[in-house]
Each structure stands twice: as structure tokens, then as C-alpha cells.
């Protein structure tokens, strides 16, 4: 019985060649396992010069050989390392040459950490090492840009808010929007090209590169190396404004200035006109007050100068001259007085002569003047009076009042 069983089993109904059985196993395995996720730790990692990657994924008790072909390399968001816990998406295959089954990995993501997050960290580290974030490379943001370039989606709140805020704050600024896709396939390349376009176009003083908030995946374009390099090589200062305040992207690190949000970027890029107007008004006020202070100082100095010895000297000369004028005029006065006295003396001589002719001198010789009262008419004719008329006689000394008694007309 036993030998029968053995003999049954050993019946050479079908004899496989090695190749045949390997192929059969391969077919069975490959059909039996659709694409699967496998989680484990990387070891024996090898990036071959051919560009293919070979490694083993293992856990506490088992391991499986893995391959990642060169053509999949560019899709890798990070460079695998030994000891890294990863999740691999792939197909179980058999390598016929050595009869080994293995996992043909088409996607590899860090386990435990988000795939994107891992890629972000690695790119950030690499670009940091390369010097793309160096402070010395950062360009100053102009204080008063005349034309602002914006690289973002032409639709959505971000662009609308930015335009509104910029013009609210500083209306005279011109804005040039270079519309781009900001998420999905080709977004990163589009953003990078937009940055290069604005540089090529020229006349832009500063640019804002960004988009509104979204998931890490939505913001991913701004974590792409191509965008980082475009920002790095931009001759125009770049303000990165991606997502919300908590979102940090590679663009933020490379850019000359990071704004927490697009709206914040709009506020940072131009100063507020009201503040500036206030500043100018203040300047004008200070101009006026300092000028009046200065003229006051000058006025004080002028007064001081006026009273200084140096300034008084010419005045001294003037007073001395005027003193001389006084002297001369005094001499003149004396001279004229002498002249006057001479005249007066001559005048008094004539006076003596005139005195001799005065009526009182005649009266002194015994004559008298008769005047009729009350009209005091001097009488030279006796017939001018009647008897009983009153007359006054003026003698050399004194007067006589008398009455006419008799008239003798000659």
C-alpha cells in the first residue's frame, strides 16, 4: 500500500523542466496576487549604475526582495535609505534566472510619515545643503515698487484679495498677473515658467508667488524643486505666499521673503498710503516749525550783532560826525548873534534920533494937546468946540479936564 502510494505519486505523468516549473510558479504567483501594498523596513539598498534600485524589505521574521526600475525613479518623491520604514505598492513577480520571487515596486512611500511630508523634508534638506536658502542670496524687497508681478491662479479669492489690498494701500501701483495653474499635473512647471516669464518681461519690481489655502497635496506645486530653482534664479525679488499661516513650503524657504498668506503678502509689498501721507504731512509740519525756529535764531543773532561793538563802531563814526555838525552849527549861531547885535546897536542909534521927535519931548517944552471929550478928538481949531463942551488937556506930566467958557476964533 505504502509502495503503491509512492508509486502513484512518482508516476511520471508530467515532468517539468526547471524553466517550465519556474514559469508555472511565476504565472500562479503573478495571477494570484494583484497589485498590493507591502509595509516593511528597507535594507540592502542599492542604487545601481544602471539606474535601477534593488533592496530588501523586511520585518521581524521575513524579508522580500524588491526592485524599482529606473523609469520609475523620477516619480520617487524621496530617496530611499536603509532602515527606512516604507510602504511599497507593487506586483509580486518571479525572477526566473534565480527562481526568486520579488516585489516589482511601482510606488514607494515612507510609512508612518506622509509620503509628501517625507519628500518635503528631504528636498528641503537637500536644497538647504546646496545653499538655496542662504540669507546672502536673498534680495531686498523694494520699499516702493511701481509694478508688482503676481504668479497665481487667475481665479479664486487669493488674486482678488491681493489686488484689492494692494490698491487699497497704495493705489498708484500697477499689477501684472501671470496666470498659472497652482495644483495638479504640470502646475509646478507652470509656476516655474511664470517666474521666468516675469523675469524675461522685465519692468517688474517685485513678485508675489503663491496661492490660497488647501491640502498638502493642493499646495504641492510650491514644494517642487523646479519652482524652488525658478525662485532662486529670479532676478526680481520674490515674496512667497502659499496657503495659510501654518503652511510652510519649499518656496517659502527659497523666496526672498515669506508671507504667511497671499493677503499678508499684499500688505507687506506696499506701504499703507495713509501712513505715508501722515508721514509726509508730519514732515511738512516739521519743516514749517523748524524754519520758524531757525528764523527766530537768526533774528536773535541779528539783534546780538546790532548791539555788538563791531557793529557799533560805524555808528560811533556817525555820532562823532554829528557832534561836529553840532559844533559847526553852534559857531554859526554865535556868528549870527554878533551880526544881530551889531544891527541892534545901529537900531538903538536911530531910536535916539526918533525919541527927539516924540510928542512927549514937545510937551516937555510946555506944549499941550487938547482933545474934545468924550470922543477924544485932538483939537486944532477953536471952532470945533462949543461953550460948555468938556475937553482934556494932555501936558508933559498929567492931564487936566476942563470946560469951554469962551471961544475966540482967530
Amino acid at each position: 500500500m505504502v509502495s503503491d502510494m509512492w508509486s502513484d505519486r512518482r508516476q511520471p505523468e508530467k515532468v517539468y523542466t526547471v524553466t517550465e516549473i519556474t514559469r508555472e510558479i511565476k504565472r500562479t504567483l503573478e495571477q494570484g496576487f494583484p497589485s498590493v501594498w507591502v509595509e516593511g523596513e528597507i535594507s540592502n539598498y542599492l542604487l545601481h549604475s544602471s539606474g535601477h534600485r534593488y533592496f530588501t524589505m523586511k520585518d521581524e521574521s521575513s524579508q522580500i526582495r524588491c526592485t524599482l526600475w529606473r523609469f520609475r525613479g523620477p516619480q520617487l518623491r524621496f530617496e530611499p535609505e536603509n532602515g527606512m520604514k516604507v510602504m511599497a505598492w507593487g506586483d509580486v513577480t518571479v525572477y526566473e534566472k534565480n527562481g526568486q520571487y520579488q516585489l516589482d515596486v511601482s510606488e514607494l512611500v515612507p510609512a508612518g510619515m506622509g509620503r509628501l511630508e517625507m519628500a518635503f523634508r528631504q528636498l528641503k534638506e537637500r536644497l538647504f545643503q546646496e545653499g538655496l536658502f542662504d540669507e546672502e542670496h536673498k534680495k531686498p524687497i523694494p520699499r516702493f515698487p511701481e509694478t508688482i508681478g503676481i504668479v497665481t491662479s487667475p481665479t479664486g479669492a487669493a488674486i482678488r484679495d491681493m489686488v484689492r489690498i494692494v490698491h487699497d494701500r497704495f493705489p498708484a501701483v500697477e499689477i501684472l498677473v501671470r496666470p498659472t495653474r497652482v495644483q495638479g499635473d504640470g502646475a509646478a512647471e507652470d509656476v516655474a515658467q511664470a517666474i521666468r516669464d516675469l523675469n524675461e518681461y522685465q519692468g517688474i519690481d517685485v513678485m508675489i508667488v503663491g496661492r490660497g489655502g488647501g491640502s498638502l497635496e493642493d499646495l504641492w506645486a510650491f514644494n517642487e524643486e523646479v519652482v524652488a530653482r525658478a525662485i532662486y534664479h529670479s532676478q526680481i525679488p520674490v515674496i512667497s505666499a502659499v496657503g495659510h499661516e501654518i503652511d510652510f513650503t519649499i518656496s517659502d524657504f527659497v523666496a526672498d521673503l515669506r508671507a504667511p498668506t497671499p493677503s499678508a503678502a499684499a500688505q507687506m509689498v506696499v506701504e499703507d498710503r495713509e501712513d505715508l501721507l501722515e508721514q509726509v504731512r508730519l514732515g511738512m509740519g516739521k519743516l514749517a516749525s523748524t524754519l520758524s525756529a531757525i528764523t527766530n535764531v537768526s533774528r536773535q543773532r541779528l539783534i546780538a550783532i546790532k548791539e555788538s561793538y563791531g557793529f557799533r563802531r560805524p555808528l560811533d563814526i556817525i555820532t562823532q560826525r554829528s557832534q561836529k555838525v553840532d559844533e559847526v552849527s553852534r559857531l554859526l549861531m554865535v556868528g549870527s548873534e554878533n551880526l544881530l547885535r551889531e544891527k541892534r546897536d545901529r537900531l538903538s542909534l536911530f531910536g535916539e534920533k526918533l525919541k527927539a521927535l516924540s510928542p512927549s519931548a514937545i510937551l516937555k517944552r510946555g506944549y499941550c494937546v487938547a482933545r474934545k471929550l468924550p470922543e477924544m478928538m485932538v483939537l486944532t481949531d477953536a471952532q470945533a468946540v462949543k461953550t460948555e463942551d468938556q475937553i482934556e488937556l494932555r501936558l508933559y506930566k498929567g492931564r487936566i479936564k476942563s470946560r469951554v467958557e469962551l471961544i475966540h476964533p482967530d
Binding site: 523694494p142 501684472l176 501671470r178 516669464d197 519743516l287
Partner: protein, 86 residues
């Protein structure tokens, strides 16, 4: 190409320079070490600068354009309306 750039930069600078110069003039006047004649000159310059800045600040709203690259690789600009694009 370059004339536009230098032109715009020159204009852009002139506002900044005007404001800087204004500040400097105010400082110089405040230090009070200028001759009266110089002070008057500076004052006049300061007033002109203030007026220039005021004028710049109260200027009409700048344009919003979008940059388009033609198939030939040439640039052209068109008016950009945020509301229309909504």
C-alpha cells in the same frame, strides 16, 4: 527692453528718494546748524518734495493687467478683471 526697466526703476526710486530726502531735510533743519539762507533753500526743497510725495500718493489707481506669452514667445498684456474671471 532695458529703457523700460530703468525708466520704471528711476520713477520708483524718485518717490523713495523724495521721501528719504524729505526726512533728511527735516533732520538737517532740526539740527539747526544751517545758515538762514541754506535753511530757506532746504525749506523750499522740502515743500516741493512733500508736494511731490502727496501727488504720488493721491495718484489714480494703477492698472491690473495679465501677462500672456504668444505662440511666438512674445509677451503681450491684457486688462485683467478679477471679477470677470470669477
Amino acid at each position: 527692453m532695458s529703457p523700460r526697466k530703468t525708466g520704471s526703476q528711476k520713477k520708483e526710486k524718485s518717490f523713495e528718494e523724495a521721501l528719504d530726502r524729505l526726512e533728511q531735510i527735516v533732520l538737517e533743519l532740526e539740527e539747526g546748524e544751517l545758515s538762514l539762507e541754506d535753511a530757506l533753500g532746504k525749506f523750499e526743497e522740502g515743500i516741493k518734495l512733500s508736494e511731490f510725495c502727496m501727488q504720488k500718493l493721491t495718484q489714480a489707481e494703477g492698472k491690473v493687467k495679465k501677462l500672456i506669452k504668444t505662440a511666438k514667445g512674445e509677451f503681450k498684456t491684457e486688462d485683467f478683471e478679477t471679477s470677470e474671471e470669477q
